[in-house]
């Protein structure tokens, strides 16, 4: 009991979700179909799963819950899936991603690739309240890892 008592509510929530996932959905995750949207995964668990560094609002990474993700290098696809509990994952870089997150109330962006975003980008994201993660994984690898964590694809799904 003690270890669970020490864990945050988010982690307990993830644990509960994972148990349900194991029973009903895990097989389908590896079959590339999406876990059901609506299950909650804590952002700091996602950061850990992607081995990502948190560039802005590290404190919020512990409180933000993610219900869906979208991994894409196309702005329209990211846009159509963006929402207040969606993680957007991309190899793109540029201020327009911050604007997109701002317009769609997206709580978190995960930038992929070896290059760190510019200081201007980080400042802009911090200003609008978006948590920015950066990971070395490629787009497909990141998407697979997120599916394995139980994060479903956002509303529109892959085109």
């Amino acid at each position: 009991v003690a270890p669970y008592a020490e864990k945050s509510a988010d982690v307990v929530q993830l644990t509960r979700r994972s148990a349900a996932t194991k029973n009903s959905n895990r097989e389908s995750f590896h079959g590339r179909s999406s876990p059901p949207e609506g299950l909650v995964t804590a952002l700091h668990d996602i950061a850990r799963g992607l081995e990502a560094e948190v560039l802005t609002h590290a404190d919020r990474a512990r409180t933000v819950d993610v219900r869906a993700m979208r991994a894409s290098n196309t702005v329209s696809e990211l846009l159509s899936s963006a929402g207040p509990s969606t993680l957007l994952v991309t190899e793109l870089a540029g201020h327009h991603l911050v604007r997109l997150a701002e317009l769609l109330d997206t709580p978190c962006l995960c930038l992929l690739g070896p290059d760190a975003p510019s200081a201007r980008f980080v400042e802009a994201a911090a200003r609008v309240g978006t948590v920015v993660l950066r990971a070395d994984a490629g787009l497909e690898e990141a998407e697979t890892r997120l599916r394995d964590l139980g994060v479903g694809v956002g509303r529109e799904g892959p085109r």
Partner: protein
């Protein structure tokens, strides 16, 4: 009824989305349903970035009532030669500079169509393009349970006429462009 109007600078990627951000502030202040705001923002940002990518200049204007938001994006750009082709997913004439940052996949106009309740697109090659869309708003507490049929059924007239009212109210450099557009469609 709330009106909004903002200019759009062609080619200015850094400022792209500024007009949509202004519209969002208006919608949030008016306590528009968040899901409707989301749909409007998807369509408005796509339309605004089309101006940034393809045109010299343009404007975004909107009229928001209890029952619907009508948004019009007008530009003075190269226009669209084949509207049906432009609506096909995957068709794009965006330059490599836009594609390099994730735009120009040919999904913008289909994305707009998918998220709005009505869409109008008019263009004159060499002159410019006008895109108008309507998103119905959920009834709020104390509001009528459904929008007046005349408003929805008369969308065409509303789309054409109301942005002109909007521009006349707020003024700004885009006034001429909207008037010209209205004249073309009359």
């Amino acid at each position: 009824v709330i009106t909004f109007s903002a200019p759009i600078a062609g080619g200015d990627y850094a400022s792209g989305g500024a007009a949509s951000r202004g519209l969002k502030a208006v919608l949030v202040e008016a306590r528009v349903d968040p899901e409707a705001v989301r749909r409007i923002m998807i369509a408005a940002y796509e339309a605004e970035m089309n101006v940034v990518i393809h045109a010299e200049s343009g404007s975004l204007s909107a009229v928001v009532s209890k029952h619907a938001a009508i948004v019009e994006v007008v530009d003075e750009g190269p226009g669209i030669a084949d509207l049906e082709l432009a609506m096909q997913p995957g068709f794009s004439t965006a330059p490599p500079s836009a594609k390099a940052i994730g735009f120009g996949a040919g999904l913008g106009l289909p994305n707009i169509k998918k998220h709005v309740d009505d869409l109008r697109l008019e263009s004159r090659p060499g002159r410019g393009t006008r895109l108008s869309f309507l998103v119905r708003l959920a009834a709020r507490v104390g509001a009528s349970s459904r929008p007046p049929s005349a408003f929805v059924e008369g969308l065409g007239a509303a789309v054409v006429a109301r942005p002109a009212v909007c521009v006349a109210t707020s003024g700004g450099p885009d006034e001429g462009a909207t008037k010209n557009t209205e004249g073309r469609s009359a």
